[in-house]
């Protein structure tokens, strides 16, 4: 028998003792670890979602800042909180993209044939998303700080802002998760997600105060959840936090989760 066959025989004959599943927490952490490995191996995804917001920040601040807010510094303080919202929302598109890719490639078949807690792959991916949202928000924030943005509210406000951004993105992310479970290709997930995100990020109070907009647009901006969280973040980071604005900003993520999380889990459990 060749040494190779001996090695194979020994490996195949060994029977490691395993704990009979399901163990939801450990499995979720394993999937979160996988999500983080994917960020490490595909850093271009993180760069992708950060480049556009940074570009917008630079262009808008230096080009229109003076005209819109009297000075570039004043405009940057106004703009950056909303840009952070845009950043985490762009990042949340990748949640759907990666999920769809997994399903198309057959990796999920293996997971689904294992004795694990059914929602573990999705729950773990969401946990990994917290890392992605935080990393991309911090990157954009760092660029902002270099350009002269000031966090008036201090470290506590910064922490609260990051938590708020995460809660918002995790909630909204369920829409893209559901979408990813419905369409055939990762590319379609991308295209459809942009179609949703473009109008809600531009039709908001991120770039300019709505006072000069036509009435119908003002009405849209007023009910747009993106405006709500932008307002809440401006308050937080500007040192003037408003509880009612924060509460209003939290309504959408919780409502979306309540509706789209069960839909996603149903779609996930459905046969393919």
């Amino acid at each position: 028998m060749s040494p190779r066959e001996t090695r194979l025989d020994r490996a195949l004959g060994a029977a490691p003792t395993v704990t009979a599943g399901p163990r939801p927490l450990a499995e979720m952490l394993a999937f979160a670890w996988r999500a983080i490995l994917k960020i490490r191996h595909n850093p271009e995804h993180a760069v992708d979602v950060v480049v556009t917001p940074v570009m917008f920040t630079v262009i808008f601040t230096y080009l229109f800042g003076g005209a819109l807010a009297g000075s570039t510094d004043a405009y940057l303080d106004f703009l950056l909180p909303g840009i952070l919202v845009q950043t985490v929302m762009f990042t949340s598109i990748y949640t759907g993209f990666i999920l769809n890719q997994d399903i198309q490639r057959g990796v999920f078949d293996r997971f689904r044939a294992m004795p694990i807690w059914r929602p573990a792959p999705i729950a773990g991916a969401i946990l990994g998303d917290v890392v992605r949202y935080t990393v991309s928000a911090v990157l954009v924030l760092a660029v902002g700080l270099v350009m002269g943005f000031r966090i008036e509210g201090g470290a506590g406000a910064l922490l609260a802002a990051l938590v708020l951004l995460n809660v918002f993105a995790l909630g909204v992310g369920w829409i893209f998760t559901a979408l990813a479970l419905m369409v055939r290709t990762p590319g379609t997930v991308m295209t459809l997600s942009w179609l949703v995100l473009m109008p809600v990020t531009f039709g908001s109070n991120i770039y300019v105060a709505p006072e000069t907009m036509p009435g119908w647009l003002q009405a849209f901006v007023a009910v747009n959840p993106v405006s709500h969280i932008t307002t809440a973040l401006r308050g937080l980071l500007g040192g003037d936090p408003s509880l009612s604005a924060i509460a209003l900003a939290l309504v959408t993520p919780f409502a979306v989760t309540a509706v789209f999380a069960p839909i996603s889990m149903w779609l996930y459990g459905r046969e393919r």
Partner: protein
Amino acid sequence: MSQAILTEDLSKSYGPTRALDGVSLSVPRGQVFGLLGPNGAGKTTFVRVLSTLIRPTGGRAQVLGHDVATDPGAVRARIALTGQFASVDEDLTGRENLMLLARLIGLPGNAARARCAELLAAFDLEGAATRQVSGYSGGMRRRLDIAASMIARPELLFLDEPTTGLDPRARADVWAIVRRLARSGTTVLLTTQYLEEADQLAERIAVIDHGRVIAEGTAAELKARVGSGVLKLTLRDAPAAAEAARIADRLGLEAHAQDDPRLLEVPLTGADEALPLLSALTAEGAAPVDFAYGQPSLDAVFFALTGHGAEPEHEPAP
């Protein structure tokens, strides 16, 4: 002891398509069982039902004594699946793939690391352990995919077309692995489109077509029905081929016409039947310009079993 797999009248329909149309099979433990069939025969559907990924629309299926519909959890705890389409993560390295699965089945950190190292070495993947799977060759991917199924020792392993698309060298590697698996006592359900592969690896073989089992038995029994070999003749031209077919007929052999009218395939029960036929052809002026003796193709198997060749796709009934 119960059978590894026991199905009764198992069916699965997709609209008008009957992917499985009443399959009753019994697979004993400790064997490699081959499921042989052309594209669209229902092999993957059978594997997906038995590995609890999809629910049957009719009939019953037990895996290792547990019903797939009523007790899928017990089935999942005892099986492993290496699917037809790579079930490893392209973005991760070979080692990371194995570590993820080791964690998921509950191996503690050190044991997981040791087990992954052992498997990477045994499957000749040590050198590629820290490379992303997207850069692997087809053969390496397959080996990793099988290793991933062997982290805990499953009682039953599903291998869905493990060698389709591999070059001969990589195919030989997978064959060697399956042989060692069989020796280790793991029950394996292997699907394939090649009679030669089923013959080489499996103790028992079921031939499946249009979702139905059309023959079942040991490789030897099947070959007794199909002929253990086939003589492939290339004649000078079409008339010579017709003449050769007549000569074969006279010797009690059946010559099957092929798409190319100069080609004939003659199933034989053994290589010793080839010589009399070749001499007769030469003596009567229909000497082949080329010939080869080999295993019957899947097409020849189907011809012998059903009287028609293997049809590649399952057309839904109008």
